[in-house]
Each structure stands twice: as C-alpha cells, then as structure tokens.
Amino acid sequence: MDVVIRDKIKQVKKGDQAAYEDVVLFFQNKIYQHCFRMLGNAHEAEDIAQEAFIRAYVNIHSYDENRKFSTWLYRIATNLSIDRMRKRKPDFHLDAEIAGTDGLDMYSQLATDEKLPEEEVQSMELQSYIQHEINELPAIYRTIIMLRYLEEFSLQEISEILDIPLGTVKTRIHRGREALRKKLRHV
C-alpha cells in the first residue's frame, strides 16, 4: 500500500488534484479517528480532520518523500488538534495539563460523582464500556494508547508524530496503560 500511496503523492505534487482523492480515501478513517481520540467529539474531529487533509494538500511540497507519509499526515492532524484544544472556550480548560505534572489535568483534581465502575458495567455492553473508559482517559494518554495499539505505530514514530521525546512517549504509555488497567480491572 505504501508504494501506491507514494505514487499518488508524486502525482499530487505534479498538480494532479484528482490523485489526492485516493489519498484521502485511504487515510480518512485513520485521521478522523486520531482527531476524534484527541478531541473527544465527532463535530470537532470532522472539522479538524478535514483541515488536516487540506493543509497536507496545500503544503504537499514540503513533504519529504523519504519519510513516511502517514507520520507526516498524523503530525499535521496532531498539531491542528492541539491548536483546537488550546482555543477552546474556558469551560473546556479542565482538559489542560497542570504545569509541572506529566499529564495530570484538572479533572483529576475534582471529586467524582460518577457511579462506581461495577454499576456502570451492568448498564453497558462490554465493548462500549471499554470504549467509554478509553474516552475517559486524559487526552494525552488516550492519543498515545491509540497510536500505539490501534494504528500500530512504533514508539519512535509516535515520538515524531507528537513531537515529544521518546522517553516521554514511554512514560505516558506506561501511565496510560496503568490508568486503563485500573479502570478495567473490575470487569
């Protein structure tokens, strides 16, 4: 598939707009999903995913063909998503990381008024319960966990996509796994 995409990108670079349609078709679910995981809602995800594809098209000449296109595209989508999160209205700022902590957001400082996990399990199918718990993870863990286990990027690639050091990727993936384990251990 990589070869096909590489060819398509070459055509796009030569000015063939139609060739880009195949590229979008191939990546649309992945990028949309990535944005969805980062932003947590469908409306913004669609918005940002579209913007990511448009940005990639406009800046296609700055894409270095020796590198993986998917990494480049994910990087654009990631940056746009982060921008969007920053521009959110103040009531969303609970999502923001607390300075000096690695990934602790304001939510972690609030007392929970949710039902106990056991009670929740009973009211939900296992699949959607897991989905729900994943979505409940702080965005930075959620994103990394998804890139690692759903998109199957290597740790190095994730470090490039998110533009954070490899060590940070490892720390976050460890914490993300632990957080999710705690949430799902009662199942």
């Binding site: 670079k13 030569k14 000015g15 707009q17 880009y20 349609e21 979008v24 078709l25 649309q28 679910n29 990028i31 949309y32 999903q33 969805f36 995981r37 995800a45 669609e46 995913a49 579209q50 594809f53 448009i54 098209y57 406009v58 000449h61 699949q127 897991i130 989905q131 994943i134 966990i145 998804m146 286990y149 759903l150 740790l155 490892k170 993936i173 460890h174 796994r177 632990e178 999710l180 384990r181 799902l184 251990r185």
Partner: protein, 211 residues
C-alpha cells in the same frame, strides 16, 4: 524486589519490547512467585487486547467528497510557480537565456562607437575609415560601426562590422577597381547581426505578446 517500584516498570518495558534478557528473566522469576504481580501483569495484557479490539471510529460517509470540495482551486500564478519549482533546470535556462540576451542587446546598443583595429596610415574622417591610395596596411583590419573606403592595399583580412564599404563612384570605374587591393578575406558582418536581431525581436514579440 519491590513489586511496585521494580517489577511494574519491568512489565511495561516488556510490553514495549525494550527489555534486556537479564531483566526479562528477573521478571519471569518474580511472576512465578508473586501472585499479585501475576494478576497485575495479566490485567495489563488483557487491557491491551481490549484496546486492540476497540471499535474503530469511522469518518462520516461523505468525508472525502467534503475534503475534495474544500481544496483550493489553484490560481494560475500558483500553478506557474509550482511549475517553475518542478522544473528548476528549465527555469534556470530560461533566466540565463533572458539575461544573456538582454546583456547582448545592451552591449549592442552601447557599443555604437567607431572602432578600428590599430594600424598606422589609416585616415579617419568622421565615421569613415580610409585606407589611402598607395598605402599598404599590414595585418587584419577590423572596422566597427563605421564605413570603410579602401583605396590602397590591405595585407590581411578585412572585417567590417555594422558599416558600409564605400565605393568611390567618382572614379566611374567598375566595382572591383574602386576597391583597393585586399589580400585576404573580406567579411561584412552587419547583415548577419541584423538578420539575427530581427529574428530575435520577432521571437520576443511572439513570446511576450499579450494580445
């Protein structure tokens, strides 16, 4: 070994695939003895397999069409600029060609002074160079931007650039007789230049015409 401090990080290193053999053995040995850690490790692995089975989120049905519609239609100059970027060699050649032509053209324009190769016994009257009667000029004679009248003898080639050879009509004799003796080739260059210039001008008009 402390379970929380030492063993759990080892589990994560194992799951990331960057664990040394030594540590892996350590981890295995510990897991055999410690049921708490076993449970923890099992839960982690189970969590991962659940994540992998998470339902993928699908993009809306018309997503691609939406993107394609929103792509900027390319403005013409963007298209040209991209073409230039795509063909750097041709662009460089074209720029070089234009510079060279304009250079040649301005040199042509400026260089309208009368110049004569340095030889003795030549008489210059206004823009006319005269080889007087009874004089023999040694070597090649070059006259640029002026007329030439040969009454004497030239021992070499004569090149006449952008000028006319003046025939002495008063003699009433034949053409050859009016020209003094030239013991070499006689070349008249202006016609060639004019011809090239005429053609280049036509070419330019063709290329840059906006009509």
């Amino acid at each position: 070994m402390d379970c929380k401090k030492d063993v759990i990080p080892l589990m994560h290193h194992f799951l990331d695939g960057d664990i040394s053999r030594e540590d892996e053995t350590k981890l295995r040995k510990h897991l055999e003895q410690c049921s708490d850690c076993q449970k923890h490790f099992h839960e982690l692995k189970r969590t991962i397999s659940w994540i992998k089975n998470a339902e993928p989120v699908m993009a809306p049905v018309d997503f691609t069409q939406q993107v394609m519609q929103k792509l900027p239609t390319e403005k013409k100059h963007v298209k040209y600029m991209r073409w230039f970027k795509m063909h750097p060699v041709i662009t460089a050649a074209a720029i070089f060609f234009i510079l060279m032509l304009s250079g040649a053209f301005s040199a042509w324009q400026q260089d309208s002074k009368l110049t004569v190769s340095k030889q003795d016994d030549l008489i210059i009257q206004g823009d006319t160079v005269i080889v007087p009667e009874g004089v023999t000029v040694d070597g090649d004679l070059v006259v640029k931007n002026g007329n030439l009248k040969i009454e004497g003898t030239v021992d070499g080639n004569v090149t006449l650039i952008n000028g006319k050879l003046i025939q002495d009509q008063l003699n009433g004799e034949g053409l050859m007789a009016s020209v003094g003796e030239v013991n070499g080739e006689f070349k008249k260059v202006d016609q060639v230049f004019e011809w090239i210039w005429f053609n280049l001008q036509n070419l330019f008009r063709g290329v840059f015409s906006f009509e």
